[in-house]
């Protein structure tokens, strides 16, 4: 298996877990390394004309293209905006690159472009440059989208893993797993799919408000692929500190939980597209929650845990509803439905 893994890209290499990490560290970074890229931050920070500019890119290959709560176009805009937002910047402009399979219907393309334009308008960002390529039938699955974005970092934002300290609180702006379970349920044709809705949304409005009105935000990240589990493990590993979260305090939509249980998925590993995790100082946590809860995208904001001392090695631990404790590992990269 190990040998074949070297010869070929597996699906899990794109899953946001350990194999993605391996791919980045062993294949991408050695070839393309520069100081900015090596940080592996949600956005690259470039100092242009004495202003700190954030720069990020992301590709979107979601299936199905249209899902309850969004489509690939909305996702491509919001996802890149969110990477800029959690780096503490205000999005300024996006690029858009489309790779389209020969034979793709114009009607669907129009719908996707509408999703893109609506999301860009709703988030106050212009798409200022772009590209279109077509490939022969079978060489791509309908449509792939890449967006890149730049934003100017807010003066008040001083975010970094190095600022995180023991006692800091962890907040999230709402329920987890909604996007991932919507996509999976729709893909697998699960009966109650109509009750699930992706949380796909641009977060810059909320994050900018948070950063402008409080001083205690130390770090933010959007828990997309790999879910909350991957994000918290990245925070723990990057800061060298441990994380303790409480199961009872994590907001979860009961239908989403039921769908995850049915397929045997750990909801902590499931993707989100309209959520951010913020590490905030103990003193500022109430202010942060108040600001979030007044915003439409933060009504269910909650403190889910805190940063604690590391004993042997940095770990993420979950205190379960019955008072037990367990480790939350970095997910493998691809959730598989179980047998029964």
């Amino acid at each position: 298996m190990t040998k074949e893994r070297r010869d070929r890209i597996l699906l899990a290499h794109g899953g946001g877990g350990r194999l993605t990490d391996e791919l980045i560290r062993h294949h991408i970074l050695p070839r393309l390394n520069n100081d900015t890229l090596a940080e592996l931050a949600d956005s690259a920070k470039l100092n242009l004309d004495s202003k700190l500019v954030c720069f990020t890119t992301d590709s979107y290959v979601v299936k199905p293209l249209f899902f309850n709560g969004g489509d690939i176009g909305k996702l491509a805009v919001c996802g890149t905006i969110n990477d800029l937002a959690v780096a503490g910047s205000e999005p300024a402009a996006l690029s858009l690159s489309l790779i389209i399979e020969e034979g793709f219907e114009f009607e669907l393309l129009e719908k996707i472009l509408a999703g893109i334009s609506e999301a860009a308008r709703a988030n106050g960002v212009d798409i200022v440059t772009g590209d279109i390529k077509t490939v022969e039938a079978g060489a791509a699955d309908k449509i792939f989208i890449n967006t890149a974005g730049i934003g100017t970092r807010l003066d008040d934002a001083d975010l970094g893993l190095n600022r995180i300290a023991v006692g800091d609180k962890i907040i999230i702006n709402g329920t987890i797993g909604d996007h991932g379970m919507t996509i999976i349920s729709q893909r697998e044709g699960i009966k109650f799919q109509s009750q699930l809705k992706s949380d796909c949304a641009g977060l810059a409005g909320l994050t900018c408000e948070l950063l402008r009105n409080t001083e205690g935000v130390k770090f933010m990240r959007d828990p997309t692929r790999g879910g909350l589990a991957a994000t918290l493990n990245e925070i723990s590993r990057g800061s060298g500190l441990s994380v303790e979260i409480r199961e009872a305090d994590i907001p979860i939509n009961p239908t989403v939980q039921a769908a995850a249980d049915m397929l045997g998925f750990d909801i902590l590993n499931i993707a989100n597209e309209g959520k951010f995790v913020a590490i905030v100082s103990r003193e500022s946590v109430d202010d942060c929650l108040n600001i979030c809860r007044k915003h439409p995208l933060g009504k269910e904001a909650s403190t889910i845990g805190e940063i604690v001392e590391t004993v042997d090695a940095p770990v993420v631990e979950l205190v379960t509803k019955i008072g037990g404790k367990r480790i939350v590992q970095m997910p493998y990269g691809r959730e598989l439905p179980r047998i029964c």
């Binding site: 298996m1 190990t2 074949e4 893994r5 070929r8 890209i9 597996l10 699906l11 899990a12 350990r18 194999l19 697998e188 699960i190 397929l263 045997g264 750990d266 770990v315 631990e317 979950l318 205190v319 379960t320 509803k321 019955i322 008072g323 037990g324 404790k325 367990r326 480790i327 590992q329 493998y332 598989l336 439905p337 179980r338 047998i339 029964c340």
Partner: protein, 358 residues
Amino acid sequence: MLEQIYKAQRLMDAACKKMGRPINIMEVCGTHTVSIFRNGIRPTLPKRLKLLSGPGCPVCVTDQSYIDSVLQLADHDDCLIATYGDMIRVPGKSGSLETKQSSTNVKIVLSSEDALQLAKDIPDKTVVFVAVGFETTAPATAVAVKEAAAEGVDNFCILSGHKLVVPAMRTLLSEKNHNIDAFLCPGHVSVIIGFGAFAEIVEGFGRPCVVAGFEPLQIIEGLGAICQQLAEGKAKVQSIYTAVVTKQGNTTAQKIIGECFEAADGYWRGLGLIEKSTLKLKDKYSRFDAVRRFDISEIPAEDKSGCRCGEVLCGLIEPPECKLFEKTCTPDTAVGPCMVSSEGTCAAWFKYGRERCR
């Protein structure tokens, strides 16, 4: 909820005191195993109460030769392998379905019905459904076979790896050096076979059998009920999963299984050959049997890797006692199926932290 937990814990303490030695309770259901680890149940139990994770994970108990047969079929250009997700990472002699999936004929399905639909949609391929699982998934496989027969979908067949829970429990207790005091019996399987099916374990071996659901409180209460029996020196069949499990089970599902399958001797990983413990398609459905269609040999593969999944499955050792655990065998580089499956004991120990699992 806390009050119910305390009550169960008092029962457990009383049983440990009464027995005057550590108590070993085996769960024989992968979903119980995952729930126990995911909800951090082990650290809340008395130290002298030990949970053994038995042969309850369908992926883990599937013999190596079965995996190799599936991999062999995946190499046939005219075959499309339709499999439950759990199976694709299990390593065989030549890679796994996951490594084959990137280039060839492997598709993940959620049900046998989806596999049959694939056969209808892609008539120029023979769809081979990787039919694994216990009595929970067997009825759905049977329904798909019957439907294929009725509709004449001849490019559909199954490779039956279905297994029966009770013969495995009997085999475990027939081993001289077993250390099992009682069973926490599987919820899903019991919905089908009924809790009455465990009577032979109680009568033949004097071991309490309690059926519980999968919520953490159900599991804790189930363990409490077992301990109450142990403390009182009793052994009986009991179900606390009363909402869905009856004594006789789902007789419609049992009938469908009986129409398509017959019990046959078969190999289990770790347990070896067990008499009448697997389900084989009856002769009248033989044309849907991949073994007969493709002339697959059923010789068990010799495992030289040093993997001790078999002993883990029998509750004889804990995963860290295997030399490969966390070293050459991790979820990313799994040597044995107990590390591959999301319901596998080794994966649970690895994933949820070994110290907290004790």
